[in-house]
């Protein structure tokens, strides 16, 4: 150490310089790591928003359709049953005629045949028209103004996903049709507008991405969450009260404790296997039913709720219990009248976070048949909501991703936005509750 005695106190020897540089470097590593993680978050969120926002607008074609009596009601009786016998096939001439009418009205110069012009519409256009006619048969013989969905290629063209180069060898759409769409757009027949049906509507078959919506899957998720809420909260809270307040310290309660902390880390797909084996193969509950999904997610959420409830109970100071017991309350009364109300905000927060986890979970739902199912029917009651086959939001997103069509990818991203809005609001609610009711003793 004698070497250093002559050196000025604050002069940086090479060794100290090196050590300080190492210090800076080390701090830099930490900053870089955080920067990388946050960049990833930004990229992820940016991707979701830029890719998904397109799903909320859709291309519509507004046409004046003559509901010709000669095509729909040859007898002229306006008998709804007879009119219902005209299949969707019988309505396509009306659409072709409507296209011809548009071309004539706006003097559009196109070499397309009327059949090819009508092909810019979604495949659901004919059934949309048929439903409209059947809802009120007295419209037959008049001209109605109808807003049809354009098919996904035209929609993709307006959104920049489809270009003339990318469709060179495409059988579904030709550049002549795109020219036609440009002309229609100039006169305001084709428009890109906000599409509420994406949020509230039903899923559609893989031929009609433009008509697919999240609404029914949202209802499926809602009923699943209902099951989770009504099963996991009472069971979870009851189990936690027992384990935290009553359980004697013996090997049985030890086993239960180790079990719960391990169950919380069991991969979610294992719960799916359990659901398939027990609820579907053994108990013969209906496949794809939100009830089964809810039961599986309940088992998955229970450990999370138990762990957070026990933490909330543990945070209530023993003095509260002692005071109640001292005034002559029984142990049960102490817990239910004093401890539980004080722990309620913590329990609520944990429950909301557990529900949010369950809402975003996909893997177990794949095994109990919530994919491959096209969710087209909105459940019309609680029992239908629980027992009828349905999809759920994350399963619906996976289903769209699997269809390997850029138009469906856009809807999958759009669906993620809806899912994230739910998750973020649930988490914000949990944070708000924690802030508002948090007490420190």
């Amino acid at each position: 150490m004698t070497d250093h005695t002559n050196a000025p106190t604050f002069a940086q020897t090479p060794r100290i310089k090196k050590r300080n540089a190492a210090e800076k470097r080390f701090k830099g590593y930490g900053l870089t790591a955080i920067a990388i993680a946050l960049t990833m978050l930004v990229i992820l969120m940016g991707t979701i928003l830029t890719r998904g926002v397109g799903a909320y607008t859709q291309t519509f074609v507004t046409l004046n359709v003559d509901l010709l009596e000669s095509k729909l009601d040859k007898a002229g009786t306006r008998d709804p049953e007879a009119i219902a016998k005209v299949t969707t096939f019988g309505y396509s001439p009306l659409l072709k005629a409507a296209m011809d009418r548009v071309v004539a009205e706006h003097n559009i110069d196109t070499g397309l045949k009327s059949g090819d012009m009508a092909k810019i519409l979604s495949k659901s256009a004919v059934s949309q028209l048929r439903d409209l006619v059947l809802s009120d048969v007295s419209q037959i013989g008049t001209t109605v103004k109808v807003k049809f969905l354009a098919n996904s290629w035209i929609d993709g063209y307006l959104k920049g996903r489809v270009t003339r180069d990318s469709i060179e060898n495409n059988k579904n759409v030709s550049s002549a049709q795109l020219d036609f769409v440009d002309a229609l757009r100039a006169v305001g027949v084709v428009e890109k507008k906000f599409n509420p049906d994406f949020i509230f509507g039903a899923d559609a078959s893989d031929q009609r991405p433009e008509a697919a919506g999240m609404g029914v899957a949202m209802a499926g998720s809602f009923f699943m969450m209902l099951v989770v809420l009504f099963l996991s909260v009472p069971i979870g809270v009851a189990a936690s009260i027992y384990l935290e307040e009553f359980a004697p310290k013996n090997w049985i309660t030890d086993v239960i404790e180790v079990n719960i902390s391990n169950l919380a880390a069991v991969p979610s797909i294992v719960f799916g296997i359990l659901g398939l084996a027990v609820f579907i193969n053994y108990m013969h509950l209906p496949q794809s039913a939100p009830l089964v999904g809810g039961l599986v997610l309940t088992l998955m959420t229970l450990p999370t709720i138990i762990i957070s409830t026990r933490a909330a109970l543990k945070a209530v100071p023993p003095s509260i219990r002692d005071a109640a017991l001292g005034l002559g309350a029984s142990k049960m009364q102490t817990i239910f009248h004093h401890v539980l109300p004080l722990a309620a905000p913590g329990i609520l927060t944990g429950t909301i976070i557990g529900l949010a986890q369950a809402l975003g979970e996909t893997a177990p739902l794949l095994l109990i048949g919530m994919i491959g199912y096209i969710a087209t029917n909105m459940p019309d009651g609680v029992s239908a909501g629980l027992f009828d086959p349905n999809s759920a939001m994350p399963a619906q997103i996976y289903e769209w991703a699997k269809r390997a069509d850029p138009a469906f990818y856009e809807r999958a991203w759009g669906g993620i936005i809806i899912l994230l809005v739910f998750l973020i609001s649930m988490n914000l609610l949990a944070i708000w509750l924690r802030r508002k009711f948090e007490r420190r003793w």
């Binding site: 189990a239 027992y242 797909i269 996909t362 893997a363 991203w413």
Partner: protein, 503 residues
């Protein structure tokens, strides 16, 4: 089966819903009657009673409702199984076609029975004459069409008889259920009412009851584990009776073939799983650990207040989102760099799905997992140890590297093991991003498959639960369960052991 009770009972019983409602009403009535009776036994002076008045009411309510509801639940679950097995005696062996099974036929019979009940309710059919009619099968067909029920297999006379028997048995069972549940509820009501006096320890009885409820709720956690293990062990044993277990554990090939004679070995899948998990940990560990160090040791309070919740957002994003990101954004991005005609001009990557695609995205997902666990552990290292190190002249980074990290090491290892168990069990990212090729490949830019993706692919679609190609999924699931459980137990053990040192 039960000739004494014919079709007359049809409609003379209550559905489970009305039964629940009726018993609940009786229970509510019991609450007020019991409370009143106990009060009047004490001349309406609650001070003379052992417990508060409402405990007496609750006791009657519980005694009326709970035993009846428990039996009802068991009955509702058991009756269809018993009825089906009794009615299946009437199905002749020759009416089960090749490739079908009694179970499939019985599900059709069940559907026919439902249609009959529906049709009888609408007055379309007279069940008593249908059974005796010579053309019962033809009539049955008409009934099915009129109520809009479809049956998969060819109907035979014995199936119609079996369906009729099922309707008859169900009616009998429902009738017996109404009587039995009603009797149990009334018995409970009468028993508890008889005990209503001021000296009855109602609170203790009610609290005992609540305690039993709490214990059974806690037991559900155990039941879930037992359910998981049993459901998988039985199917796994069945799989091993159909398929050689040495091939499963030691074979080198995964090639399911639904015509039979498949090679179903877990090793290639295990390789894919471990490879992808290692890539994920290589991404998550340094980033997560350095983030944790920075947040715990360097960051100001406000930086920490912003950065930590933002990192946790990454953990809150559902895995399907990461999967989609891997499939649609990250995979093609990697392919644009390493694939044919990419930026580097090398052709190393054939498909957007690869080990790197899934592994790196999974690593991003695990960052907050590693960082928040490590953060907790670093914070648990006592300040005195840091102060001692500073006092000896060490810089902050030297203190962290030579004092804090060694002290926190067991906990950090535990955190990484927990992250590894997460990675091994992760499903959606690998289903969408890793591909489906089972092999022992070393190139991280090639597709591989994992245990979880194979579970999904073997169990989705129209699997036949008697073929080894389908139920191999249960063996895979059990292996996965054991693997993750082992990692968790080791990790928790390490974390706990470490925590004891400083508390």
């Amino acid at each position: 089966m039960c000739p004494a009770l014919g079709f007359a009972e049809l409609g003379l019983y209550m559905t489970p819903q009305t039964l629940i409602l009726a018993v609940a009403l009786l229970g509510v009535l019991g609450f007020f009657m019991g409370r009143r009776r106990a009060l009047s036994s004490a001349n309406h002076d609650p001070r003379l009673m052992h417990s508060l008045p409402h405990y007496y009411g609750v006791f009657v309510f519980l005694m009326t409702l709970v035993p009846a509801m428990l039996i009802l639940a068991i009955w509702v679950l058991a009756q269809p199984m018993i009825v089906s097995s009794l009615a299946s005696d009437l199905v002749l062996p020759q009416s089960i076609p090749d490739g079908s099974s009694l179970g499939l036929i019985m599900s059709d019979v069940t559907r026919m029975a439902q249609a009959l009940t529906l049709a009888a309710g609408q007055g379309i059919v007279d069940l008593a004459t249908l059974g005796a009619a010579a053309d019962a099968t033809t009539q049955m067909g008409d009934i099915l069409t009129s109520v809009g029920v479809a049956v998969g297999s060819q109907m035979t006379d014995d199936m119609v008889q079996s369906a009729l028997d099922m309707v008859r048995l169900t009616a009998t069972g429902d009738w017996a259920m109404t009587v039995a549940i009603g009797a149990i509820a009334l018995a409970g009501f009468a028993y508890s009412m008889a005990r209503m006096s001021k000296s009855f320890w109602a609170r203790n009885a009610v609290e005992r009851f609540i305690l039993v409820t709490l214990i059974s709720a806690a037991a559900i956690a155990i039941l879930t584990t037992i359910g998981i293990v049993l459901s998988m062990v039985f199917e796994t044993l069945r799989f091993f009776s159909l398929h050689d277990w040495t091939d499963f554990f030691f074979g080198l090939e995964w090639a399911p073939n639904f015509r039979g004679d498949s090679a179903l070995s877990i090793l290639p899948l295990l390789w894919g799983t471990l490879y992808i998990s290692i890539v994920a940990l290589l991404v998550a560990t340094p980033i997560g650990l350095f983030s944790a160090i920075y947040l715990a040791e360097y960051a100001s309070k406000s930086t920490r207040g912003i950065a930590k919740p933002l990192l946790e957002v990454l953990a809150g994003i559902p895995t399907i989102v990461y999967g989609l990101f891997a499939l649609i954004t990250f995979g093609p991005f990697l392919k644009d760099i390493f694939g044919e005609g990419g930026i580097l001009g090398v052709d190393w990557m054939g498909d957007a799905r690869s080990v790197a695609t899934a592994g790196i995205v999974m690593g991003i997902m695990l960052i907050p997992f590693v960082s928040s666990l490590s953060d907790d552990i670093i914070n648990a290292v006592p300040q005195a140890m840091r102060d001692g190190s500073y006092g000896l002249g060490a810089t902050k980074s030297e203190t962290i590297r030579q004092v804090v990290l060694p002290a926190a090491l067991p906990g950090i290892v535990g955190a990484i093991l927990l992250a590894a168990s997460r990675a091994i069990g992760e499903t959606m990212i690998v289903v969408l991003g890793a591909g489906a090729i089972a092999r022992f490949a070393g190139n991280p830019l090639e597709a591989l498959t994992t245990i979880t993706t194979r579970i999904v692919s073997q169990l989705t679609g129209d699997g036949d639960f008697n073929s080894p190609e389908t139920i191999v999924a249960f063996a895979l699931g059990l292996t996965l369960f054991v693997l993750t459980l082992g990692l968790n137990i080791i990790a928790l053990y390490i974390v706990r052991k470490y925590r004891e040192q400083y508390e």
